[in-house]
């Protein structure tokens, strides 16, 4: 009797392990940080893209507006793809679009903007990529929605598309 109970426990244990590992097989191997956590806006000092003067973050996010911060680079192919979406977003007067130029050559970045248009109300330079880390980004493009309380309420990893644009518009409502 004792042996039977022991065997039953062992089988149950193996079934439990099998289910756990089987479920694990279906999970993606690539880790993506949580994108829905509300986070405080980091305080930082950066450089203005055109004036090349120092700018304090407190002066950038000054108005009682929704802000969208987009991390981009001229060498990033998906950024080129998402640019028309940003141009469309820039027509919305209830938001301010801030660009963060990530580890880029300034001349190439300026050519990129001249060629495709400037959707941003201000562009900041992140030469070393450390500012992107302060925002919790790990690549380009990434987009952050910042609410009126100066909290990051949502982040989008990868290029924006029409579906995500609709999602952003819903957030802004």
């Amino acid at each position: 009797m004792k042996n039977k109970i022991f065997l039953f426990i062992i089988i149950l244990f193996f079934i439990f392990c099998f289910i756990i590992f089987y479920k694990g097989l279906n999970n993606s191997n690539i880790y993506t940080p949580n994108i829905n956590n509300k986070k405080d806006l980091p305080i930082f000092i950066s450089k203005d893209f055109y004036l090349e003067t120092e700018v304090n973050s407190e002066k950038i996010f000054l108005d009682n507006n929704f802000y969208i911060l987009n991390i981009w680079a001229s060498w990033c192919v998906p950024c080129r793809k998402e640019h028309p979406i940003l141009m469309e977003l820039s027509r919305n007067k209830s938001i301010k679009l801030i660009g963060l130029n990530y580890r880029d050559n300034l001349n190439n970045a300026k050519k990129f903007i001249d060629e495709l248009g400037n959707p941003y109300s201000q562009i900041l330079i992140d030469e070393e990529g450390t500012l992107a880390v302060e925002f919790g980004a790990y690549g380009v493009p990434e987009t952050f929605i910042i609410d009126k309380n100066k909290k990051i309420i949502k982040k989008f990893i990868g290029p924006l598309n029409q579906k995500l644009l609709k999602e952003i518009k819903l957030f802004l409502k």
Binding site: P33, K39, E128, G129, V133, E134, F135, G136, G139
Partner: protein, 123 residues
């Protein structure tokens, strides 16, 4: 002459202590970087990775050490930005109790079975 000698000794002492603290910071930086997972090359630590992300993290860690943050505070900063997964050695918290305690429980369970079997065999 004596004054020059004295200045020389002070200069050497200051330089020595400076280089010693530099070595300590470098060791701490490497220790931290080896415990951070690169989110671009997910099989590698930031220390081993050459990605843009790893480059930025290396600079951030260096800056934080220079600003006087402790190892624990740096891990906390990175965990807050990227989640627990960025650390190879996750800290003990309510989310990681199972991770830390399950191997110990399994070991105790196994040990108990072996012990019971030995007692039965002796009898």
């Amino acid at each position: 002459m004596k004054i020059i000698k004295l200045f020389l000794i002070i200069f050497i002492l200051i330089n020595f202590s400076q280089s010693k603290s530099d070595i300590k910071s470098e060791e701490l930086k490497n220790k931290i970087l080896k415990n951070i997972r690169c989110l671009i090359c997910q099989g590698q630590s930031v220390y081993d990775s050459e990605s843009d992300f790893a480059f930025s993290i290396k600079l951030i860690v260096e800056k934080k050490i220079y600003d006087g943050l402790s190892e624990k505070q740096i891990y906390e900063f990175l965990r807050e930005k990227y989640g627990e997964w960025i650390l190879y050695d996750p800290v003990l918290s309510k989310n990681t109790y199972i991770l830390w305690l399950l191997p110990l429980l399994l070991f105790l369970f196994g040990g108990a079975i072996v012990y019971m079997n030995l007692i039965i065999k002796k009898k």
